[in-house]
């Protein structure tokens, strides 16, 4: 008998998690716009509440439309399961709140989205969780920053906005030596370009608002567990391995093994914090996921054309993209991201802040807004927008200057994009 074969990425992107609806035979994923689900009888109700039966009870905890998206992303990532959340930030918070509490500590990359930096650097501190930030490519710094109370290492697969490539195998090895998991924000890469679990990451999340949706119409997040981290063997995660009074003394690891993290995250995190995904949002994100494998190659192809144009341009001081030989992570990118380094990148415009302002205001096809990963091309000035709360020192550490401009390359005709950039660059240098 020959070796059996898994369905390919493209097939999973279209089908994973969904059978045609048994009642209506609907081929498309139905939008189950409901808060709650009728119990068969009182015993069935009690069994669902006590986790003796599988199923849906209340849409804050789970919903059939959201479940299709969760299962599909998990299939694409190679995880044991996933949880849809109200946003990418909700997914990050859910991961942290499931693993730790006051008195615990995180080691995180400096190259993070500004919102994540705020959550770790300021907000969580108020709740007793401290974070030490380290330069992502300084492996010794990751090691040195680990304390006895460290519970998580965290970075972005491609750092924001300098596109630092996280050395997932090396940082995961450091995390595992310390018996803690590695969580990555995989928003910029999507499972099409990089599968973090295959390189050693234990948990990941997406701002599904970005490339997974691709249309810019819904705010959403997805948290995925590889199921590979052994919480019991680590001995550092009482939330998963000790009886939990909030659920009849349940020991989540004993109860469900590989599913412990997601079980606690759903049964406590969604129940108590409530940052769930709406069914309509899940449906909208699913529309994007179904074409992810077609869109990502086009995003990358157009990005490469735009970079080819920008790199030698007289109005450009520097283009930051890991596929360029002068990027410090060029070799690592070749290893981890052979299909491309995504469609979000930065460049430094000659003339600093005034030139940047003129450039952005002269663009016609690119939209000036605070988002990335849209089918439409986008532009922003990080120092005054996404990262404006960061100190000068933190900005420098994150590789941002007053002249840094971030582009997200969409799916328009690449030549139209180049002409738009050319016109705006000329205007900026006058």
């Amino acid at each position: 008998m020959s070796k059996p074969k898994y369905p390919g990425f493209d097939t999973l992107a279209l089908h994973a998690g969904q059978s045609p609806d048994p009642t209506t035979s609907s081929r498309a994923v139905p939008i189950y716009q409901t808060t709650s689900y009728v119990f068969r009888d009182t015993e069935h109700a009690a069994s669902l509440f006590n986790m003796e039966r599988a199923g849906h009870v209340y849409s804050r905890i789970s919903n059939p439309t959201v479940s299709v998206l969760e299962e599909r992303i998990s299939a694409l990532e190679g995880g044991v399961g996933a949880i849809g959340t109200a946003s990418g930030q909700a997914a990050l918070h859910l991961a942290i709140a499931t693993l730790m509490g006051a008195g615990d500590h995180i080691v995180a990359s400096t190259a993070l989205y500004g919102g994540s930096h705020n959550l770790l650097g300021y907000t969580l501190k108020r709740f007793g969780i401290e974070t030490t930030f380290v330069t992502p490519r300084d492996l010794q710094a990751w090691k040195k920053a680990i304390r006895p109370n460290t519970r998580l290492l965290f970075g972005e697969t491609l750092g924001n906005p300098g596109l630092d490539v996280l050395d997932i195998p090396a940082v995961a090895a450091i995390a595992h030596e310390a018996k803690v998991p590695l969580l990555v924000d995989a928003t910029f890469t999507t499972p099409y370009l990089l599968k973090p679990f295959a390189h050693g990451a234990d948990l990941l999340y997406h701002s599904a608002t970005k490339f997974l949706g691709g249309h810019g119409v819904a705010i959403a997040g997805v948290l995925v567990d590889s199921g590979r981290f052994d919480w019991e063997a680590s001995g550092k995660f009482a939330t998963l391995t000790a009886p939990y009074e909030g659920f009849h003394g349940m020991d989540f690891e004993e109860e469900s093994g590989t599913r412990a993290f997601l079980l606690r995250a759903r049964r406590e995190g969604l129940r108590d914090f409530g940052a769930c995904m709406a069914p309509m949002t899940a449906f909208q994100i699913l529309q994007g996921v179904e074409t992810l494998h077609l869109r990502m190659p086009r995003h990358v192809e157009s990005t490469r054309k735009v970079i080819q144009f920008l790199s030698p341009h007289s109005g450009v001081l520097k283009v930051i993209y890991p596929e360029l030989p002068d990027h410090p992570d060029h070799e690592l990118a070749k290893k981890l991201l052979p299909l491309g380094c995504g469609a979000v990148f930065s460049f430094e415009i000659k003339g600093g802040r005034p030139a940047g302002k003129k450039f952005i205001e002269s663009l016609r096809v690119f939209s000036h807004l605070a988002n990335v990963g849209d089918a439409k091309s986008l532009v922003i000035h990080p120092a005054t927008t996404t990262h404006y709360r960061m100190s000068d020192e933190d900005l420098k550490r994150a590789g941002i200057t007053a002249g840094t401009v971030r582009l997200s390359i969409g799916l328009e005709d690449a030549q139209d994009l180049i002409e738009d950039l050319d016109r705006a660059l000329k205007a900026s240098q006058k």
């Binding site: 059996p4 299962e71 590989t258």
Partner: protein, 248 residues
Amino acid sequence: MFAYTAGHAFDKAKPTMVFVHGAGLDHSWFGLQSRYFGYHGWNVLAFDLPGHGRSGGSPISSVGGMAEEVCKAVPAEKFSIVGHSMGALIALECAASAPSRVDRIALIGVAYPMKVGEAFLDAAKRDSYDAFDMETIWGHAAQVPLGGNPSPGMWMYGDTQARLERLAPGVLYNDLKACNDYVLEGEIACPALFILGKRDVMTPPRSAKSIQERIPGAKTVLIDLSGHSLMAEAPDATLDALIEFFRT
């Protein structure tokens, strides 16, 4: 040997139900079903066989040896057994070798003889990931990768892979070989229930026929949309069949 008890202390006054997992797996494969019985008047002992899950030690190389270990570990004089796949062979062996102790047996996803394909055995012997792929893919109905998991948000293939990756080298081969080599000696006198998945490609329903014929009065429940991993693919139908069997 570790046993999950659904959070309840052993109570002599209650009947006892033992759950035994299949090759390379652990007690949590029965998560929903064992929890149900633990909260509905039964002592539950969902074992991790030696070398599996939370139980240390080396895996036992024969179904007979595993059955002996299970019988030894049950504190009750009489008990019932629910076994899946290899666990079902262990249940058969317990019923045959300790008839005075075993009250009823429920056999889920079982074949007899349980012959394992040469390619599967060989891959497991080499500790090749191919063996995990075979167990994962053949262990579920063909529609699973394209269907929905009854447990919200979970991906059945990923879950099976993650469980198998936690195994020590050689454990899966040990289990598959034990299944392959097992011969039932003696007869089964206690009431028996077969729960079989119509879409099971690993132990298709027809492969249980010879053992069904050896157990007088055995009942069978065929579950339409399930493959070999019935507790995950059809958790409610599996539980309903168990409830019905153990209630009567």
